[in-house]
Assembly symmetry: C2
Homo-oligomer: 269 residues x 2
């Protein structure tokens, strides 16, 4: 059986969908700019990696591209979400064989802009559970992120930084983390928890930064900090907790490199 | 807003339901016997505890009882599932305020019977991530269980035992674990991972066993092992990996105690 492809506004999701019951799925959120999804191939490959980890059949590529076209037609900026679940299933954790996966496609508005002068971030009290089998992929078990996001409501706080259960800074609730140490950008290893974001992947591919296990002091004592994700691009940080952070020229260099490659990110969102 | 209560066969779940997108919900599976759900109050209280952890509004109790009545009318044995999700929400982890949670109610067949002479269990290669904030509640982030259940397809293997990330035996894929050591039944602490099952809770309330941090040797060298859950009751284990396990009189005592209190469990399922 092939994977059903459904536009979300027309979708009637079965009550026994395993995405609904167990978070048994993976998703992608793509930036739309001028009617075009950014980093399509990278998103598709990550979806494929996640689907392989969960052993969910992938939809047919060209059919997905075709289905997305209607949602992309309005040239306004926005967000495209692909949600691939294993589809309906009996009660119980054993997936049905064969499964009938479903890809839900939906369009959303951009999030509110990130402050151009930098956002303020805090440390989350929640520590991410360590699960190497799921680390890196964008699966639908996101209660940790939901709980972490509920820790604050102050609109002057823009994000939280999360450590894993062994105390290693790993990511923000909705983005990856980069810190400047001794003139080098470092980003946490994601072998134990976190999502391997595609803006992070793009930066690493440009030679901007490298992966390393970080400790809290690496963040607290950094010369600069930014977050990033594929919808908003680079998100400069002006304060971590009580500590003010500079926005040095090295941060401008990174933002300009991304904006030069992808004009969608010329303005901080 | 009150919580919508929907029978699953009639349900049209929104594509933006947070249960579907993030596993943002909790559930209960109740044994139905002779048209009556067992341990209703205990299930309701656990649903309430889980909803409180996630800050999801609870449905009105009497309305749920009323809605369940139609599904309970056939007197045949079965399973009743209650699935409470936070309902629809915008893209992003921050829950909408106010949310419009939804309770989906569905009826299912009993699982195939567990061997009366004992089931064979294996050790899972997967180690459960440690997340004290979610440990014990029956939330919908169940990818670890889905992956663990996919590790074997041999029909002569009936369950897997799971350790947590620190190596402590915690539970089976779909049940809790009891081991007999020096004449005492022990069951793992569930402060780091696992679901606090209601058959386990019933047994502990009867003074049958107590909670303790276990190590693998406690299981490997146990004088007897059983699993349990609220749908199937006591599930005797006749082998853990290559090691055969006895089904001693102490195990019969436990099974008889449960069967005396709840005749639904007089026959091993």
């Amino acid at each position: 059986m092939s994977v059903a492809i459904v536009l979300a506004e027309q979708a009637s999701v079965r009550a026994d969908d395993r995405g609904l019951n167990y978070g048994d799925g993976v998703f992608e959120t793509l930036r739309i700019h001028a009617g075009r999804p950014l980093w399509w191939d990278a998103h598709w490959q990550r979806l494929r990696r996640g689907a392989a980890v969960l052993a969910i059949e992938m939809p047919e590529h060209d059919a997905v591209v075709h289905a997305c076209a209607a949602l992309l037609a309005p040239a306004a900026d926005g967000v495209l979400k692909l949600l691939l679940t294993r589809g309906g299933g009996g009660r119980g954790y054993a997936p049905p064989e064969p499964a009938q996966p479903q890809l839900l496609i939906s369009r959303h508005a951009l999030p509110p802009p990130w402050p151009a002068a930098g956002g303020r971030v805090r440390w989350s009290q929640l520590r991410l559970g360590i699960q190497p089998l799921l680390a890196g992929i964008k699966h639908c078990n996101r209660l940790e992120q939901v709980l972490a996001r509920r820790e604050w409501s102050d609109p002057d706080i823009h994000e939280s930084l999360l450590c894993d259960a062994l105390g290693a800074p790993t990511c923000a609730v909705s983005g990856n983390l980069f810190v400047l140490r001794d003139g080098v950008w470092l980003t946490p290893l994601l072998d134990r928890a976190g999502v391997a974001g595609l803006c992070r992947q793009w930066l690493l591919a440009q030679g901007i930064g490298h992966e390393q296990r970080l400790c809290v002091a690496d963040v607290e004592q950094a010369d600069a900090v930014f977050l990033c994700n594929a919808v908003r691009g680079i998100l400069p940080v002006c304060a971590v907790g009580e500590r003010q952070m500079a926005l040095p020229p090295q941060l401008q260099v990174v933002m300009q490199a991304l904006a030069a490659a992808e004009p969608a990110f010329a303005r901080t969102r």
